[in-house]
Symmetry: D2
Amino acid sequence: MTRNDIARDRIPIAVLGATGAVGQTFIRLLRDHPWFRVAEVAASERSAGRRYADATHWLEGEMPADVAALTVTPCRPDSVSSSIVFSALDSGVAGEVEIAFARAGRFVCSNAKNHRMLSDVPLLIPEINAQHLAVIDAQRKHRGWTGALVTNANCSSTVAALALAPLHEAFGITSMFIATMQAVSGAGYPGVPSLDIMGNVIPYIADEEPKIEAEIGKLLGVVNGNAIESASFRVTAHANRVPVEHGHTTCMSIGLSSPATPEQVSDAIMAWTGREEAMDLPSRPHRPIVVTTEPDHPQPRRDVMRGNGMTVTVGRIRRDELLDVRMVAMGSNTIRGAAGGAIMNAELLVTQGYLARP
Amino acid sequence: MTRNDIARDRIPIAVLGATGAVGQTFIRLLRDHPWFRVAEVAASERSAGRRYADATHWLEGEMPADVAALTVTPCRPDSVSSSIVFSALDSGVAGEVEIAFARAGRFVCSNAKNHRMLSDVPLLIPEINAQHLAVIDAQRKHRGWTGALVTNANCSSTVAALALAPLHEAFGITSMFIATMQAVSGAGYPGVPSLDIMGNVIPYIADEEPKIEAEIGKLLGVVNGNAIESASFRVTAHANRVPVEHGHTTCMSIGLSSPATPEQVSDAIMAWTGREEAMDLPSRPHRPIVVTTEPDHPQPRRDVMRGNGMTVTVGRIRRDELLDVRMVAMGSNTIRGAAGGAIMNAELLVTQGYLARP
Amino acid sequence: MTRNDIARDRIPIAVLGATGAVGQTFIRLLRDHPWFRVAEVAASERSAGRRYADATHWLEGEMPADVAALTVTPCRPDSVSSSIVFSALDSGVAGEVEIAFARAGRFVCSNAKNHRMLSDVPLLIPEINAQHLAVIDAQRKHRGWTGALVTNANCSSTVAALALAPLHEAFGITSMFIATMQAVSGAGYPGVPSLDIMGNVIPYIADEEPKIEAEIGKLLGVVNGNAIESASFRVTAHANRVPVEHGHTTCMSIGLSSPATPEQVSDAIMAWTGREEAMDLPSRPHRPIVVTTEPDHPQPRRDVMRGNGMTVTVGRIRRDELLDVRMVAMGSNTIRGAAGGAIMNAELLVTQGYLARP
Amino acid sequence: MTRNDIARDRIPIAVLGATGAVGQTFIRLLRDHPWFRVAEVAASERSAGRRYADATHWLEGEMPADVAALTVTPCRPDSVSSSIVFSALDSGVAGEVEIAFARAGRFVCSNAKNHRMLSDVPLLIPEINAQHLAVIDAQRKHRGWTGALVTNANCSSTVAALALAPLHEAFGITSMFIATMQAVSGAGYPGVPSLDIMGNVIPYIADEEPKIEAEIGKLLGVVNGNAIESASFRVTAHANRVPVEHGHTTCMSIGLSSPATPEQVSDAIMAWTGREEAMDLPSRPHRPIVVTTEPDHPQPRRDVMRGNGMTVTVGRIRRDELLDVRMVAMGSNTIRGAAGGAIMNAELLVTQGYLARP
């Protein structure tokens, strides 16, 4: 998109947790967004009242001048007026804050883990499960909220689920093994000490494996009445931190209900375009998934920015010795797997009529 | 061991492929070996005739002065007189050269892949399968060799097999997934270009997955008459190169014949001491396997030199969602997984009477 | 620039040494160039006759489809018809090949070191010394060439010289120290083995220090009759390789003829716009030099792509304890310091009337 | 040394700041020390009262079992009984705490920067300036202390000063330029975030340049009455952080009073053995400085552990274009440049009669 596509009256939005690494990514990605503009930045009491530029240790590129000049507000509904609220909050505080905003009539698009697995909270990747938005009505009614809450998944779950969705739709997944090699940017800032990770692998990330094992099923699940019902296959995960800055790589072995050759799997992925509702969202990349035929790809440093960080690259599709098929999927943990995913979810709320178009 | 334990009349040995990275590791590890001393260094015709110090781009630490002064000989039996020959040759030439030496009455301990999977060639890890040496007699007779050939396994196979042996003995392995994160030193020198691997993961290593899938079974196999018969379980492997200098990390999900809890698996590994024949070999570490209880270990940079690089560290033993148990095993690819393994195999040949003690 | 600015009839150019790392950078940078298009790719006899896509191990991003389909030609004037020839050749062959092309009427813009220090060969950075082009007439006449040869400087020399030009113009440089920390991409591909540089510093780069010491003076020199005369100050250089992918960092201590405070130096750099002749060249960045006030910048990973890799970032301007002023300058070694620099030189040849505009 | 050399009744010592990275290095290095044993570990109030093993995030290798079982005490003289106290305290608290201990009769060997530049406090490197101990009597008298305080220098200053001492003694240094490339371990733990340093250079370390510029002169200074007088030459420093784990590399250009060729400089360094008083200290390496003739050394990863981390490696001794001679010196920042240096200082206090021999 170019600056010409930017709406004259963009929708003002607020970023909660705006000074942290994920908050900064929201601000970077929204700089030229056609529909949204960052109107409010909220953070902890410690930062509230200061200029955003002064309260923030900015990590990458140049801080947008208009945001730099904003005054940081507290993370309370009475201090924030935007209807759309992006939550980049730590899970330690996200739980109550997000509920307060939803209760106060705001549409919260959260990157935090706290509410992801609630059956009436969509865990959205628009190309995969835009139809999960249907539970929002029940959510609002049941919880007495005038706003609503939608979430995006963990970064690794997101990368894997995008690669898996075409297989699940075409052949049905019955079980899977996933080993991840995750970038340090996934741990925020300051995050992983250099003494821990330079020339090293840390074969453990707190809470990561259970999240991956639960979220993939929900992402590929179905709406059943007022609830989202997870796909029933079992997932076993091995999560590792590696000395990579950006991009999570996942190795997967997958069992299928209907047998399929690697070629058929590759064809299914290449043919897949995903849900119709996602087609015209501004953040949707030209191709949500790309299959590479280079034998030693996908590689995080070389493929992570495909589709401006919104495309997942899949490669090495081959027969599995135990299950049916093996492959490697890699994608951006900070863009598709975090802030970019949440922004696309908000775009879906607009096109689906929950919020007025700009 | 100290210099006092070094035999006065150590057995002279030759290193084939002595100028390469693996060859250098042999020379480093044999510097103070109690039974063996490097008497001959052989390499390609290009290097033959030159002083070892002049023919070699030495990579780590100081070159032993006695070896530096040796003249490089060609890799031919008529140019090499030692009875024990360590092969650090590239697979492109190892095939014929090793056979020529075995035919000429030499005991070849090879790190090359060429003959590993032959049913009458032991693929040795003394603690696991010292009894596989039994097929040597048939090998010599059948092939008309006056010498013999034994091999050590691929670096990843070695690390995994040591961690798996106690489980296979106690519970029986039925199937397994393995995802590896392998150090760049595994690719030799110059090996992996820095532009390919810095801040990156390469999810492919040529030929590596089939080797891992085949070798683990043979390492855990049994002798059946004149042949070694691989264990029958199936292995599916995902091999990755990561920006680590030394130490291969492996994530495994394992299915067992007899159900076992993670605690039982951990106990079985901790109780395991391996084959009696290996007990007194000079290179055998105090503990071939150590189970760490630190939640984020084993880590290559911090654990790789345990037991002077001969100990495999196992951690994160936990329930698997699909099979029975998950765990992480890490060990030295250049020592236990290459030169150190081959040296221990030669020690076994000595204690088992194939070669005279020093 | 956008695709709309691209001339309908772009000038066809040839890249010599097109399959190497620098050759690939030329092709990436020329993909959307407004005046030039890659019409021919030439390389060694070994590659000649093959499709470019087949002859090349492509390193970064996607290969332009039109170039992929080209047939590689030999590096001989009779095999190449373009008037503008970019030389990304190794110095081992660049010497004779470039002369052959210049003699055959081609305008050679070379990145090779071979002819840089000849007094009738411009060592060009258009913002600094566009007027050095004046020696071309003498070059052609004296050497009997119908074409001509211009060069760009070594990557470190380029970064340093851009930062130094404003100081030399305003205060006169009398002497300087420079210590460089250079990225691995400066060594081409495969270049630096990962085992040599991961977690390491190599305090030596072959031939680099004499190049830096000589080239900075020539870049800041004057035209004297038919020759370029180097600035007379002395330079002492310390060149180091560090584990960075892209971007050379230089620390400099500088002595000045007219005393100046750090503030005055900073003001001089910020006010500097460079030679008028360079103003409208398509590759000239909005600002050739940016002074950062962040105390811990410039940093290669975070600042290298400023101005699409054509801007040098200067920081930490402060008093020197020995000479007059200290500062840090950092810029792209592969873009401004190599292919991008050569392209800008060709643009200058066009605007200065040596070649027809598209 | 071997365990046989360890005195039966080693002197009990205390480590202040024992839970941090430098404190841990003290404990690792003292594990088998022949004269000293870690009897007490002191740290902040937050850690006091806990088992050392529980209060500490141990970083490297295995924690000595006897230390693991100690109870952490507060950093107060009334809680600590050892006569020798090693201070690994942060500069934020070291100032007052160290004075309290010296006043209370303890011999404080400090790694903190707070008192290094006081004229009656020795800044010791025994091989260079053991005679500076002479000011201790005045220190104690003047300040009314029954104990005393000695310090070791900043890690970069230490590496540089060892390489410079032979030159200063032989030829007299008149001025110098130094650019450092410092390892992340120099920043402690958690220290440098991986997102800041992976694939990057940070051309700034807070307070580092003034420390280097001041300390080198004091290290090479003379005792004048009751005060240490710094050498009078001027130093200009450029301090950089690079993605290296261990080992600080320094590039130096040096001016000399008496002209000397690179060969003479090299000879002077190789002939140098340093102060007689240091000869028999247990931590003194066989050679305090080694000159390497390999053209691309010293390198941190490959040379840092020379002399168990107590030897500085010097290389690339060559003519300077501006001053007299250029060279590269590299050494361990955590051992020689921190804990190992402080331990050697304590050894000197013993041999010089300030403390009883064990």
